[in-house]
Amino acid sequence: MGISTKNTEAPPPIPEPSETEQKRASRGATRPGDRVFLGLSRGSGIFLLVIMAAIAVFLTYRASLAISKDEGNFLTTFEWNPTAIPPDFGIAVLAFGTVVSSIVAMVIAVPIAVAIALFLTHYAPRRLSGPISYVIDLLAAVPSIVYGLWGALILVPHMNGLFGWLNDYLGWTGIFEWQGGAPRSMLTVGILLAIMILPVVTNVSREVFRQSPQMIEEAALALGATRWEVIRMSVLPFGRSGVISASMLGLGRALGETMAVATVLSPTFTIQASLLDPGGGTFAQNIASKFGEATEQGRDALIASGLVLFVITLLVNGAARAIIARRKEYSGANA
């Protein structure tokens, strides 16, 4: 500890000139142009903070109006009737659906994304790796509503065969039970979300794998390790925290995804064990599909559910950023 604090204290000689430089600059800031410019740029930075605060404050205020009128328990009620008299609504079903669909998406996307990242850094021929990164970027650039349209019109019909097969062989688990409804279910949503978060997870993991120490890899190769053994023993342990934070960034994206879920899922306000039977709902999907018919009271209730989503994504993203920030040298975090 003592050594490390000494090490962090050693650099000050370098910052110090810049501090004096700044003092000189701020003495120079008596010039009106400098003062105006500093004011403008600091002002816009503060404005960003004000926006964040305003988002939290206004959502909380409108949400508190709705929740105070709620006859049910906001956290545990399985109903969504904010316009009934008395209003009765709760987020239990939405929270469940949001978590389940995101978990399905993570389970599918993370292994594939890690594999693609490894492919790009360690397997692909160098000439291919550039164009393939570009293809992955294209995947990220496609708007979510187009994914939704594709999911609803192309993916859903293609899921019938897979669902029948899962029901035949894994139906006994209860999770993969299917009663033959249209496959607009949590599993389909999860698969679609997986496709959508794939580029995020891939890009961040790729940056981390690219930084894995070459010397250790070469040493392992020289000892006769196969390529897979090199990856398992040196690249993956090195990149573990990076992959975790990449996954959490992807999770944040999946939690808040609206249109793809709204077009694919056929929602019900129930909690069910089966991933294959249509039903359930997510926060974002519920807001998008209930919004049209909502009165002011209904909108406040939707805002309340949005506040919960906001808090959850803040926590997930904050954790991801904290993990990334621990790796100082890594700067590809703006994916």
Partner: protein, 352 residues
Amino acid sequence: MSQTLNVKRPSTLQGARLPKWSPWAIAAGSVALGIGISAAAGLDSSIQWGLMAAIIFVLGTYGIATRVEGRRQAKDRVATSLVWVAFLLAVVPLVSLVWTALSRGVKVLDVYFLTHSMGVVADTEPGGGIYAAILGSLEQVGLAALMAVPIGVLTAIYLVEYGRGNLSRAITFFVDVMTGIPSIVAGLFILSLMVQFKMQPFGFAGSLALAILMMPIVVRSTEEMLKLVPNELREASLALGIPKWRTILKVVLPTSLGGITTGIMLSIARIAGETAPVLLLVFGNPFINSNPFEGAQSSLPLYIYQQYANSAGSGAAYDRAWAASLTLIAFIMILNLAARGIARWKAPKTGR
């Protein structure tokens, strides 16, 4: 004698290896086998056929490689093939999506489609177009960019050129947090203001939400670009007695202009496809409304959603949705390509 030794030695050191073409042979064999088995078992989904072939490929590789090369090499080969399979899996949806958008979109995409609006055309009938949607999208995204770009760039300048201490640390943290805000939450924030002040949906409300989504992206990309500007340039300028604000305006910004422009264009491409906030705040309008400050407007992503949702399964509406998707994808791709072009064009030089 020596010849035989020379022949034998590498073989004892290296062990038996599969020939280079073997993965391809196994792949071809497993695809054939997979299709055969699937067809025989009566599986009708092409996803299942692909899965079957992939499973046979991985198992086949492992079996053959274990027999010839040993277990460690076999594991290595399986890992290699799994990595390749993962990559191919990721490409399949992209190809399918682009192919569907192209093949179904071009059916109705013509000049008439681009220059007319839905008007009184019922959602289930053929005809109509996306003029109002394009107009709305351009206005909303343009206004959002007008608000987000100055604030974003100035914030980045503050963070790189002035910021030390707590304020800049707080800003950096919250910019990171803001990047992760779901678009629907940004929409809900503006909606909560509209509920508060009893306003009806209008285009500019959508712009506000889009600007909130755009700002953190602009800040992050501009920040990265400003950090790339060599300190010597700043010092040289300051040493000549030039005030700091002129140094920033005349030296730092022009040097990084290409990168900043690229970031801004990418962020525009990103928000142009946002649907959720527009759905909440702009509401959609089949008629042309060129005034973003009053009355409901349309927008391209919203148009796609509404054509899908109100179509009642009608093919005409789906075709329009695909054509609009194609337009939107084309718009975003052009922005992306142009941004990359600018980045490449401006990258090697650091001066004007």
